[in-house]
Symmetry: C2
Subunit: 304 residues, 2 copies
């Protein structure tokens, strides 16, 4: 199960009810934050998922509307008395940007760890069943899309377990994770000896800010949820000029990547009512939704 | 005439309808901003006084709740295409803090000029009839209160002008400012030759964050408006511990300084309804008002 929530859906400048860019995923009680624009601490408080379990903060890039809320969020994590490290991921300059902003958030209760993505390359960070991938985008500054995926182990396969001579005493331990490795009565047993093929997992792709790039289609392929920027409704000229996407361009990628659902976000402050432009996207990819701050969804494994 | 508006009335952490510390004064179309907490750009936009005429930004100190909104506000000033310098005033470290935060607000359209106040001293900056004074406070870090004052020239004094032999041709020019200095028919004439004694001007004092200090009383003496922090309602212990003031402490200063009106601001997020504690202040200084974001007032010269 993954819970996903939009924290802020504003691009460039915030509006009274539209905080700046930020999205959060929750799995097994742990939180990963993506971007952290101005006002994120307020929206996160309203969301109510807490601050203490924010294990990682991933930045797409360092334009102010994606990072200006960081000091406030770090001070909230500090106030939660977190002691474990917070991991940061992002394009080159990550530690420089974070530490510069931390001049107003000093003496934090937790250490910070930095992983900078090299520009122009795909990246990967794994953490058990949960994996994080990053894809370089095409913006005015190095920028990455993110995919967070939860794998799902195969079903217990009785025939296989018996055929492999796996003793009943270790069946339960072996089927509880993908990569269990157990020694019992001087013999070694692994999960693959009792499990069928892996089943369909869950994944979320988060993409902002960029022009459409072909690699986004395989990157987002089959995502249950594709969260994508749509800065300027249908103004293709402005989108091209500022290296952003229109609603229709986001929908084209959603269609080609055969995602489950498209959430549009990162709206220009000039878009007072983004729903006005929804038809342009829905004509291409019907399952398109206009994002709102604190819109959330729980993604669950499909029944077999 | 001075227009004053509270931009944000929150202390420590913002709430959905309470942005972090900031106050703005307007005189003759020009703006001076005091502090700039997270969300200031949104509240300033709602206020509608514009960004282009922000000539100066004065910081009391650099705790995040007083400066975290700076990058957003600078980007708004930039978007207004201001070309004139913006002047910054504040305790030591001013340029370091501002430039550190500017890692996410680079390439601004206007130059920045910095005036750092030495700790522990009074300071003064004059600009024609409008003057700015700064007073050192007692907080956990160097912190200053501000007083902004608009002087008012004396009335035209016909007897005096005649007695001094000032020709009628220069009366108008001499009475339009306090310090006019005109040569006419090879003779020199100054404003004081046609004006009576200066009349009562206008002044606003802004004070946050601090324990009560005796010097505040003469500093705020006779202010038309005294904007003062009241972080913790009536929790004197917390106030003393965190170097802040209670509502009653602020009211004591207002009373001794014989100000016109006290506006309380900089409320702890734990104070959901600051009005609950109003009686504690009003019992000491009846003309006390609980500040709200974008509460504003126009101060006008008194009739003679």
């Amino acid at each position: 199960m993954i819970d996903v929530a939009l924290v802020g859906t504003g691009g460039m400048m915030p509006l009274p009810n539209r905080y700046l860019s930020s999205m959060i995923c929750r799995h097994d009680g742990r939180l990963i934050l993506f971007d952290c624009g101005e006002g994120s601490q307020v929206s996160l408080k309203l969301l109510g998922w807490g601050f203490k379990n924010i294990d990682a903060i991933c930045f797409t890039h360092y334009h102010a509307d994606h990072i200006s809320g960081l000091p406030g969020v770090l001070l909230c994590i500090d106030a939660s008395e977190r002691k474990e490290p917070v991991r940061f991921f992002g394009p080159p300059g990550l530690e420089y940007f974070v530490r510069s902003l931390c001049v107003i958030a000093q003496g934090l209760s937790f250490p910070m760890e930095f992983t900078e993505w090299s520009p122009g390359k795909d990246h990967f960070a794994g953490d058990g069943d949960l994996t994080l991938r990053a894809l370089p985008l095409r913006h005015r500054t190095p920028c990455f899309a993110y995919n967070i995926a939860l794998s799902r182990r195969g079903k217990f396969d009785l025939e296989r377990a018996k055929a492999g001579g796996v003793p009943m005493e270790v069946w339960s331990a072996l089927q509880k994770q993908n990569d269990a490795d157990i020694v019992y009565n001087h013999k070694r047993y692994t999960s693959d000896m009792v499990l069928g093929p892996r089943r369909r997992g869950l994944s979320v792709t988060y993409c902002t800010d960029t022009r459409p790039v072909p690699a986004l289609v395989p990157f987002a392929k089959g995502s249950d949820l594709f969260i994508c920027e749509g800065l300027h409704g249908n103004d293709d000229e402005k989108c091209a000029q500022h290296m952003h996407m229109s609603f229709a361009e986001a929908a084209e990628i959603a269609k080609k990547a055969e995602v489950g659902e498209l959430w549009l976000t990162h709206f220009s402050p000039a878009l007072q009512n983004p729903a006005e432009y929804l038809p342009a996207a829905a004509a291409i990819f019907p399952n398109t939704v206009i994002g709102r701050d604190r819109m959330k969804k729980t993604l669950r494994f499909m029944d077999d």
